[in-house]
Each structure stands twice: as structure tokens, then as C-alpha cells.
């Protein structure tokens, strides 16, 4: 049995979680005298227990949460008994902070779900059980607290346990232990209390000391994601990482994923010494027999037990941010040490965390959990989360704000990459371009409504046509009458709008055409995604830089006036944001230049092959 147990405490507001942890620290004598005198001071000031010491104040650390009497962030506590060490993630019960609970659960092996015995099961109880289960926790303790308020009512206790049994079965917990307690009075915490002679199970701390919290998942063979290559000089090249599963010994055959090269372990380097072997959880440096291509994000695995590689997954995703997760938008995906650009290609359904039922969803909002398909810009090595947490968990990072916006667990590879082959064709892009005597490009015009995009694009196309070039123009308004007539102006519809146009433009470029796209395309992330679908030098972003006041003054369609009157919503520049390009290839100042001058500028850059370098804003 392991000498450490990492567990999370969760439950609804006012169930007494903080008091319970304060009690555990108190009982295991982890409270120092100076902490105690601070506690006595604070109890009279903030406490809810009158003159008695409020143990919850031992753990409610931040001043802002003391003033509101709620816990708003996850706190880590450490205590020990002679038999075991404990790391506790104390997590909030308040609904909008569910993301912190998932954070605490991600590194825990067991969950202590606190229920207020005088109130019974709450929506939050179900929600938290489902979240800890989603995060892979297989061992659940239900601490039914405040039993003193029920007069230690055995029937009330039994009813809560019975009502919760279907959830335990449904979520597949391997162990489940309900314990009636009073954190306030210390009953059934370290030893069984005479208050409830009918309870025959263990006291809470005794149970936590004794439980074997490993899971029944069979161990995988050796896997180590490479964190960095240590190469101080020409004589030494070591691969640093922490072993995610299995064992490795000197002389073992290993494979590098991706790449697939096989070699042998030459040595396992530790501090001023070499080791014969290393196992799961060890941080080591491996040296290999042969020169193979290994970099950060590669995984070194046992040759006998290969690792999957895929660019399409089904995953469970939890949204952590008040920016919604949107299908079609690209994010950075951090999976073990590997980073890729990822797109949610479809939200299959949202999970109702209370009942587990499936709900239709177009986006995932903060605290929503959904099952999604994810595609990455290149194949990445992984294991399903339920087989290996370290190789199956990922976060999604917003490319603009750098916020951690989602957390995900891979269920399986969709293997689409293997099933759908590109149709090989003999007449390809280069051949068509040669026939037309031109370099096919996508000129992507972005800017506010009435900035002059369509006017400039129109004249540019006329000039190119007159010069014998083969062109096509995709205009925002026109496309919305046909291909995209089913889309509105919500954020997710705007993303899909751009995605479709991007794909059409890509086909036209493939056909050899100079393709002009004229779309407001307000979000940087979508324009970047569009860019990523083209070859280098093929995508030219043209920023029609007209200030909002000027656009509003021109207002040829009267749209700004309508939006200002509140008759149009989601209007870019008014109640919907426009994110200007940071490094557009071409920037047009329409206040100080005429339409002709703008067109001349673009033509000049195209003719002189200067259109693939960004211009200063």
C-alpha cells in the first residue's frame, strides 16, 4: 500500500468541508500555536461559532473569502498520522467555481464527498460525484456531516445512502464508504463516537489510513514523455522526463513515438551516478544507443508495447473559462509534454452533470462538460485517459489571451486520419497555376463594416482581370445569401461562417485562382485558423484599417445607425468585438488614401513578390 494518499474534499456550500479539514488538521496535531492564536483572533472577528474556535478559519485563507464566508479557490493541505501522509485538496462548493474542483480532483486518488445530513442530497452532490468520476477517481467516501443536528438519526443516514446508490453504480466507483460524522464536535473522525452506536463502519481517519486507493486498471509497459534534451557538450545527449508508466532497465529495447525508430537504453543517468533501472513516477535522464530523432513531446516507450498516435480524438472536455469553447475555433493543446494546434471539430453532446443525460449543445460554457471530437494539426502520442492519466489528459489554451480555457480527457482515437485518404490527383495545384501563368493566392480582406473592403476588393479584381489574371471574389454578404444562409451572427455561427469560406477559398486556390475574400472576420483566432489551412506565402491578410468613427460616418447601408438604436445586435464594432490583425501582410489606410491608391499598393506588392511579408501597423 502506498505511504501517501492524495484526496479531495468536495460538497455543497455550507456542508462543512472547511470545518472537516480544520478538524483533521487539529486531530492530527498539525496546528501550531501561532496559527492557533491567529485563529482565536480571527474566530471572534469572522467566525460563525460565537466564542468557540471556528476550525474552518484554519483553512479559509484568503481575506476576500473570509469576508464572504465561502471558499473560492482550491487549497492544498498536508497532514500525517503515524501510518500515512495525506495531501488534501480543499475545493469550493460554490457552483461557479466547479473548475477548481476539477483541478483538485485531477491529482487525487480518492474523494471525500461531504453531505449535510440535515439537508440530504443536493444537486451539487450529484454534480461533484460526476466531476470526480470524470476525472478518473475510483474511490469515494461520503462523509455525512452535521449528524448532531439530526439527533444522529439512523433512518435519515440510511435514506441518503440508499438514494445515492444508483449514482455510485452508474459512475463505476470501485469503493464507496458512507460515514456519519460531526466535524464540529469531532464525532467519528479519529475514533468511533458513542453518539451513534448503530454505526458499525470505520471512523473517517481510520478508513483513510487503511484504504488501498490504487485502481484496477492493468499497468502499461514503459512510457516516458520527453521534457527536454540535455546536451551540455558533444559527448553527452540525454533525454529528461518523468516515467509515466512501467519500468525501464539498461539494455531494454525502446521505440520513439512519433517516428517509430527503435534503439536500446544505454544508461539511466541520475545525480552523480547511473541507475540499473527506473520505474513509474521517477524523474530520470535516459541515454540511448543510437542517434535517433527525439525532442520535447516525443514519448520513449517499451518496444513490445506500442503507443497510439492520432490526430483525431473523442474526448471529454470541461470548459474552465467564461469564454465559451466553440466548435471550429483553434486552440493550443498541451498533452503531456507535447503541444499542438487543435480544433474542436464537433460538440457531440453536453453532459448533464446532475443526471448524466446527454444534451444538445453548440458551445460549452464555463463549468459545462461535453463530449467532443478534436482534431490536431499533426499526429500526437497518447493513451486513453482511463488507462493512463498522464498520457491521456490535456488542456486547451486560448491563442489570444493565453488563458487555460478547457481541460480534457481522451477517450479514444477516431482513426479518421487512417480511414479517409486524400484522393490522389494527377492535375495538381502547381500544374493548374502554370497553365494560368499566375501564382494562386488568397487575399483575405478584413475590417469593420463600411471600412471599404468590398469597394477595394472589387476594383482590385477588375484590375487583375484586365491584366489577364484568373480571379474569383468571395464576398461576405453574397455568401450569406447562399452557402451560409443557415448561419446567424452569434459567436459560434461566425466561426462556422469563416470556416466554410476558408475551405471554399482553399479549393479555389487549389484550382489555381487568385481568390479574393472580403469578410469582416472579426476574430484573430479564426483568421489565424484560415491562414493555417494554406501553404506558406499563399495567404495574404489585407487589413482595411478604417477607424470606427469613419465607418460610422460613411454607414452606406445605415447599419451603424440601426445598431446604435439597438435594432441590430452582435454588430461588430458596437456590441461585438473586432480584433485587429497584429501582423497583416498588407495594411490599408483608407482615411489618407483613395481607393485607387489602395489598389495600386496591393498590386505593387503582388507584382514584386513582397506580399508575403507583414507590414508594420
Amino acid at each position: 500500500m502506498r505511504d501517501t494518499l492524495r484526496f479531495i474534499t468536495c460538497g455543497s456550500v455550507d456542508d462543512g468541508k472547511s470545518t472537516l479539514i480544520g478538524r483533521l488538521l487539529w486531530e492530527s496535531k498539525q496546528v501550531f500555536e501561532d496559527h492557533l492564536s491567529a485563529l482565536e483572533r480571527d474566530s471572534t472577528r469572522y467566525g460563525t461559532q460565537g466564542e468557540a474556535i471556528d476550525l474552518a478559519l484554519l483553512v479559509d485563507g484568503l481575506q476576500s473569502e473570509r469576508e464572504q464566508s465561502i471558499t473560492i479557490d482550491v487549497a492544498y493541505r498536508f497532514f500525517a498520522t503515524p501510518r500515512r501522509r495525506f495531501v488534501v485538496a480543499d475545493t469550493p462548493g460554490h457552483e461557479q467555481y466547479t473548475r477548481n474542483m476539477a483541478t483538485g480532483a485531477s491529482t487525487s486518488e480518492l474523494a471525500v464527498l461531504v453531505v449535510n445530513g440535515s439537508k440530504g442530497l443536493q444537486t451539487q452532490t450529484h454534480r461533484h460525484a460526476r466531476i470526480v468520476s470524470l476525472l478518473g477517481i475510483k474511490h469515494l467516501v461520503m462523509a455525512i456531516n452535521k449528524m448532531d443536528l439530526t439527533g444522529w438519526d439512523e433512518v435519515a443516514f440510511a435514506k441518503i445512502v440508499e438514494d445515492f446508490q444508483p449514482v455510485v453504480r452508474d459512475l463505476g466507483f470501485e469503493t464507496f464508504q458512507p460515514i456519519p460524522i460531526s466535524a464540529l464536535n469531532g464525532d467519528n473522525i479519529t475514533e468511533l463516537s458513542s453518539a451513534a452506536p448503530w454505526y458499525k463502519g470505520p471512523a473517517l481517519l481510520t478508513y483513510l489510513e487503511e484504504i488501498d486507493a490504487t485502481t484496477g486498471v492493468p499497468d502499461l509497459k514503459f512510457r516516458m514523455p520527453v521534457q527536454l534534451v540535455n546536451r551540455p557538450n558533444h559527448d553527452f545527449r540525454g533525454y529528461c522526463g518523468r516515467v509515466a508508466s512501467g519500468k525501464v532497465g539498461v539494455g531494454d529495447r525502446v521505440r520513439i513515438v512519433p517516428g517509430g525508430m527503435e534503439t536500446k537504453v544505454r544508461s539511466i543517468v541520475a545525480w552523480k551516478a547511473e541507475l540499473p533501472s527506473a520505474g513509474s513516477g521517477d524523474s530520470v535522464t535516459l541515454c540511448l544507443e543510437d542517434e535517433v530523432d527525439v525532442s520535447r513531446g516525443s514519448v520513449i516507450v517499451a518496444s513490445s508495447d506500442p503507443l497510439e498516435l492520432s490526430e483525431q480524438f473523442e474526448a471529454r472536455v470541461l470548459c474552465l473559462s467564461d469564454h465559451h469553447l466553440v466548435a471550429g475555433r483553434s486552440y493550443l493543446l498541451n498533452l503531456h509534454t507535447c503541444q499542438a494546434v487543435a480544433t474542436i471539430t464537433a460538440i457531440k453532446h453536453q453532459v448533464d452533470v446532475r443526471t448524466g443525460s446527454h444534451l444538445a449543445a453548440k458551445t460549452l460554457a464555463m463549468n459545462d462538460i461535453g463530449v467532443v471530437n478534436i482534431s490536431t494539426d499533426r499526429p500526437v502520442p497518447f493513451e486513453p485517459y482511463d488507462r493512463c492519466r498522464r498520457l491521456g489528459s490535456f488542456i486547451l489554451v486560448d491563442r489570444l489571451t493565453n488563458e487555460t480555457i478547457g481541460a480534457g480527457m481522451i477517450d479514444f482515437s477516431l482513426r479518421r486520419a487512417a480511414n479517409i485518404r486524400w484522393q490522389a490527383v494527377d492535375i495538381h495545384k502547381a500544374a493548374r497555376a502554370r497553365q494560368k501563368l499566375q501564382k494562386p493566392v488568397c487575399l483575405w480582406f478584413t475590417g469593420l463594416s463600411a471600412s471599404g473592403k468590398s469597394t477595394i476588393a472589387n476594383m482590385l479584381e477588375k484590375r487583375l482581370f484586365a491584366a489577364g489574371k484568373h480571379t474569383y471574389m468571395l464576398d461576405g454578404d453574397n455568401i450569406r445569401h447562399g452557402l451560409n444562409r443557415d448561419l446567424g451572427f452569434t459567436e459560434s455561427d461566425r466561426v462556422e461562417n469563416i470556416r466554410r469560406v476558408t475551405e471554399v477559398a482553399r479549393l479555389f486556390v487549389d484550382a489555381g485562382l487568385i481568390t479574393i475574400v472580403s469578410f469582416i472576420s472579426p476574430y484573430r483566432a479564426e483568421r489565424d485558423l484560415a491562414r493555417s489551412r494554406f501553404e506558406v506565402g499563399e495567404f495574404i491578410e489585407v487589413y482595411v484599417d478604417t477607424p470606427l468613427e469613419e465607418c460610422e460616418r460613411r454607414d452606406p447601408k445605415g447599419l451603424y445607425a440601426k445598431a446604435r438604436r439597438g435594432e441590430l445586435t452582435n454588430f461588430t464594432g458596437i456590441d461585438s468585438e473586432y480584433e485587429p490583425p497584429e501582423s497583416a501582410e498588407i495594411r490599408l489606410d483608407t482615411v489618407n488614401n483613395t481607393v485607387e491608391q489602395c489598389v495600386e499598393h496591393i498590386l505593387y506588392k503582388l507584382e514584386h513578390g513582397m506580399a508575403s511579408k507583414p507590414e508594420a501597423n
Binding site: 479559509d60 485563507g61 484568503l62 483541478t103 527536454l228 529528461c240 545525480w271 498541451n334 503531456h336 493565453n402
Partner: protein
């Protein structure tokens, strides 16, 4: 080494390597104390046989114990790492010192302001520090990769969710990340590890006769002749040691007979007060650490 300490060590090494892999220009804070000694040891292990690929940064208030400075210079040389030392000379010239100014003002200028100056001058994006979650209540909520807004401010509401062992170190210019590889260690773990790994620490941690005076009920060591004695006050020799080390006028000694690591470990396990009790700066006001952290203190 126990399985528990071995896993703490492996986790810390993983964190230090992630910090380096994700940083443009990393730096490690070095305060010469026992936690810094452990952190330096872990960093050297993480990159062996190479030296850790970042410099050490010490913010020197010029009021550190003399033994600490000598120890610092020797350790930097032994590790093969570059040592950067920064002092807020402007404030020193203005006469800021720990005697005439209250500890809040003194620390704010000579430590926090000095630290920001050093970090800005070095343009460091990832700063590795030795804070532990068990030290103080507001630290129990600290992330391992802690996001700092421009101006090095810590806003608890802007902290990124941190799941599994996956860290998000992406930042915009002017922002930074502080990384705490010792987050999950306790004071007892630190001492046990120092014993198991035979890590050298400043001798001030061991009991010895030292000249001290009593101020506000605590023993303060008279480390040099800059210490303003009260009329008639004479330092007395007492057998004392320090549980934490900082500026000598602000760091209280405890009476102790522990002269070996084993005795310190035993003393720590039976201690009835936390180690920060000896730090005069934490008692200034309620929630004082939370406030200092928001301003950029480590």
C-alpha cells in the same frame, strides 16, 4: 530515502524541467536558506551532468547574516552557475534600514521593490522560487505555475486552473510566471531531505552560542556593529539557532540544543509553533502575506 520523499523529489525535478522547457529566460531565486539549498540541489539533479541552465538571483538587502553571504558565494561557485546579486541602492542611499523603519516599509522597499527591479532589469519571464504551500494560509492556494500581471502583481482571481501535471506558461510581454517546485513540501520534508541527501546548509540553523538581545519577547542576534543597542543593553551569549533565515534584525532565534540535522528533525516534529513565527514581517497585519504577495513579494 522514503517513497514519499522520493516522489516529492521526482515531482520537483519535473517542475523545474518544465519551467526551463517553457521559458525564454528563466532565473532561480536564491535566498541562501534551507529551502533554497534544497531547491538548488534539486535543480542540479534535474540537469546533471550539465549545470542548471539558468542563473541564481539573490536580492541582497545588505542586512543578511554575514555567514549567509559567504555561504552564498561558495555555493554559486560549486554549482557552476552564474550568481546575480541585486540591491536597491537608491533606497539604501535614502537611508532605508530595518531599525528606523517599520518592517512593512523596509521589506516593501528592500525586498519587494528590489526584486521587481532585478526581474525587470534581467527581463526574466519565468522565475523559480522556493515557496511552500504549508508555510502560510494564502500560500496554500498558490499554483505551481503562478501567473503575474505586468508589474509582477499577483491577482488570486487571474490564476489559471492547474490540472494534472500540465502547466500553462504562455504569457504576453511584461507578464511573468513564478514557478514553485517545492509547493508540496512541508518543513519536516525539507529537513528530512536535507538529512537523507546530506545537503550543506548555513551553520546558523544549528545551535551554537551567539550574541543576542531580547526584543519584543524574541531573541535577535547582534551580527555586526550596525545593530543599535539600547542604553545599557549588552548582548548576552545564548545557545540558539534559527528556523528560518532572513535579514538578521528581523529574524528571531530560538533557544535550542540541536546541533545535528537529526536533532533538528526531531525538534521540528515536536515543534508547537510554525517556522514563520520567527519572521517578524508576517505579524504586521492580518492577512499580511496575501497583501505582500499581491504586490509582488515571493
Amino acid at each position: 530515502m522514503s517513497g514519499y520523499l522520493a516522489s516529492l523529489e521526482a515531482e520537483s525535478i519535473e517542475i523545474i524541467r518544465e519551467a526551463v522547457a517553457l521559458a525564454e529566460k528563466p532565473v532561480m531565486m536564491y535566498s541562501i536558506g534551507k529551502d533554497s539549498s534544497v531547491m538548488l540541489h534539486l535543480a542540479r539533479k534535474a540537469f546533471w551532468p550539465a549545470a542548471p541552465p539558468f542563473p541564481l538571483l539573490h536580492v541582497d538587502t545588505t542586512w543578511k547574516f554575514r555567514e549567509m553571504i559567504a555561504f552564498r558565494n561558495r555555493m554559486a561557485q560549486e554549482s557552476g552557475m552564474k550568481l546575480l546579486v541585486h540591491t536597491n541602492h537608491q533606497r539604501k542611499a535614502e537611508g532605508v534600514n530595518p531599525f528606523t523603519y517599520d518592517s512593512d516599509t523596509y521589506t516593501g522597499l528592500m525586498k519587494t521593490e528590489a526584486l521587481k527591479q532585478a526581474l525587470d532589469a534581467g527581463k526574466f519571464d519565468v522565475i523559480i522560487g522556493g515557496a511552500r504551500r504549508d508555510e502560510e494560509k494564502s500560500r496554500a492556494k498558490e499554483r505551481i505555475f503562478s501567473f503575474r500581471s505586468p508589474g509582477h502583481r499577483w491577482d488570486p482571481k487571474l490564476q489559471r486552473p492547474e490540472l494534472w501535471n500540465i502547466y500553462n506558461a504562455r504569457i504576453h510581454p511584461g507578464e511573468s510566471i513564478r514557478v514553485f517546485p517545492l509547493s508540496n513540501w512541508t518543513e519536516a520534508d525539507i529537513w528530512q531531505y536535507i538529512a537523507d541527501e546530506n545537503i550543506e546548509i548555513v551553520k546558523l540553523y544549528f545551535a551554537a552560542p551567539r550574541p543576542v538581545v531580547k526584543r519584543s519577547g524574541q531573541w535577535i542576534m547582534v551580527d555586526d556593529d550596525r545593530f543599535p543597542l539600547n542604553p545599557g543593553e549588552v548582548p548576552e551569549m545564548r545557545t540558539v539557532r534559527f528556523r528560518t533565515l532572513g535579514c538578521y534584525p528581523l529574524t528571531a532565534a530560538i533557544e535550542s540544543k540541536a546541533t545535528t540535522i537529526a536533532e533538528i528533525v526531531e525538534e521540528t516534529q515536536t515543534a508547537r509553533t510554525s517556522e514563520r513565527q520567527g519572521r517578524l514581517i508576517d505579524h504586521d497585519q492580518s492577512a499580511s502575506m496575501e497583501k505582500k504577495k499581491q504586490e509582488g513579494y515571493f
